[in-house]
Subunit: 233 residues, 2 copies
DNA sequence: TCAAGCCATATTTTCGAAAATACTACCGCT
DNA sequence: AGCGGTAGTATTTTCGAAAATATGGCTTGA
């Protein structure tokens, strides 16, 4: 059969461009690529081992997600962070997440409930293992992301789910910045459990209230511990 | 000084890729490029006079906006239309537009009010000129778009404004389909005037109510006159 | 007749060079 | 000194060919 080429390592997606986009997205979200940093093609070519065109496609993709900004004829740079961007982002996320969780609770069937419960359980296991700040752990980040995804998974709106995802990623960058500077992790586990209970208990009003507060709390924390890192406007 | 090259006609944006994206966006929204149509590079190269790479970048951009879908290693096609997509889109638009119009009414200053009034006036002039169905007129479409933009312009959320714009464009495709099949145009002018009055009268609740109904009415009309054109799922 | 494997062709994806454009440092002028 | 223009360099953008991958038809064997 067709031995799918292993000349190149393609971890996600089938095309090189989408693979590079994925790797860069990760580096931006974890701030290995710093906010505002200019992305020169010569440098990128060296770092990712791909040609101009391929890199360009990856960057175009990330620009559409808001992780990179393209200034025509003057190249690309990592999207800057700012207090106003964080506030804007937070408000947008609350608007959308609240709507999706309500719809998910309305539509979700047994499988959905099971997925919610099993994803918070996985999160709990990881949290139990690490006595230190678990929020730095990539494994926790993935499980955390999947828990929140499971809550809204039954909403039935592919359009808003896609938007939600890219907003979540933009927000994760701010969370990662704050994680490095805050004295100790906030206790999110309780908030997550309460969310799960409201969801499987089909208490939509309460779930909406909780998710809105959860998102807002996280943002307030970022502002408290990391706002001096932001540019002004 | 720098004589900005006129070798190529670049109507919008400075790069060829963004210009082509703009032209293709227009052709998709007006359904000159039909829903579901496969976009082969050889054909596109002929039609737009650009190379593989440049076209690829334009397509990547449009894919992020949801007007084109990319199937890895199997090329691009114009995003299909369907009843479920229209319903999903409509609900997402109402959620966002309602929030933005409310915030715009809260934040808008005198300049905003003036912009709203002048854009509906322009719309009225165009409608007055044409006795026939004005909704086919590109000039009307532009003015219509700008009126709706002016309503939300003062919301203060760049993120949601960007999202709103791409949803608006996806919806415009459905409006254009329906416009060709419905017996006579619905009277939108009244709805627009009422919206304008609620906005400048700072009656946020009423404006939200009106915009939600306006969007829903438009969708109901599309479904009534053109739903048999959609694919099932 | 049908399914599975394989070759030839069509198509997409990737590359590195060439063209276009922006940036910088320098020079002459007021 | 400060400003405007200019040439040279750095960088991005575009191109068309080459590599990789999918598609469709054909042959073979059951």
């Amino acid at each position: 059969m067709n031995v799918t080429a292993f000349k190149r390592r393609k971890e996600f997606g089938k095309t090189l461009a989408s693979d590079i986009a994925h790797r860069m997205r990760n580096e931006i979200v974890t701030c290995r690529l710093k906010p505002g940093e200019v992305l020169k093609f010569d440098t990128l070519r060296l770092a990712y081992g791909a040609s101009f065109t391929t890199l360009r496609e990856a960057l175009t993709c990330l620009a559409a997600e808001g992780l990179v900004v393209a200034e025509e004829q003057r190249g690309f740079k990592v999207a800057p962070i700012s207090l106003s961007d964080l506030i804007d982002l937070t408000r947008a996320r609350i608007l959308i997440e609240v709507d999706l969780i309500r719809r998910s609770i309305e539509n979700g069937n047994d499988d959905w409930e099971i997925a919610v419960i099993s994803s918070i359980h996985r999160l709990g296991i990881i949290e139990g293992r690490e006595v230190e700040d678990y929020a730095d752990n990539p494994e926790w980040k993935l499980a955390h992301r999947e828990f929140h995804e499971s809550l809204v998974a039954a909403c039935g709106s592919p359009t808003l789910l896609g938007i939600r995802q890219s907003l979540f990623e933009r927000a994760e960058r701010y969370r990662n910045i704050s994680a490095r500077f805050r004295p100790r992790p906030r206790d999110k586990a309780g908030e997550h459990r309460a969310l799960m209970k409201a969801a499987v208990g089909r208490d939509a009003d309460r779930a909406c209230e909780l998710i809105a507060r959860h998102i807002q709390n996280t943002t307030d924390n970022v502002i408290k511990y990391a706002s001096e890192l932001f540019s002004q406007n």
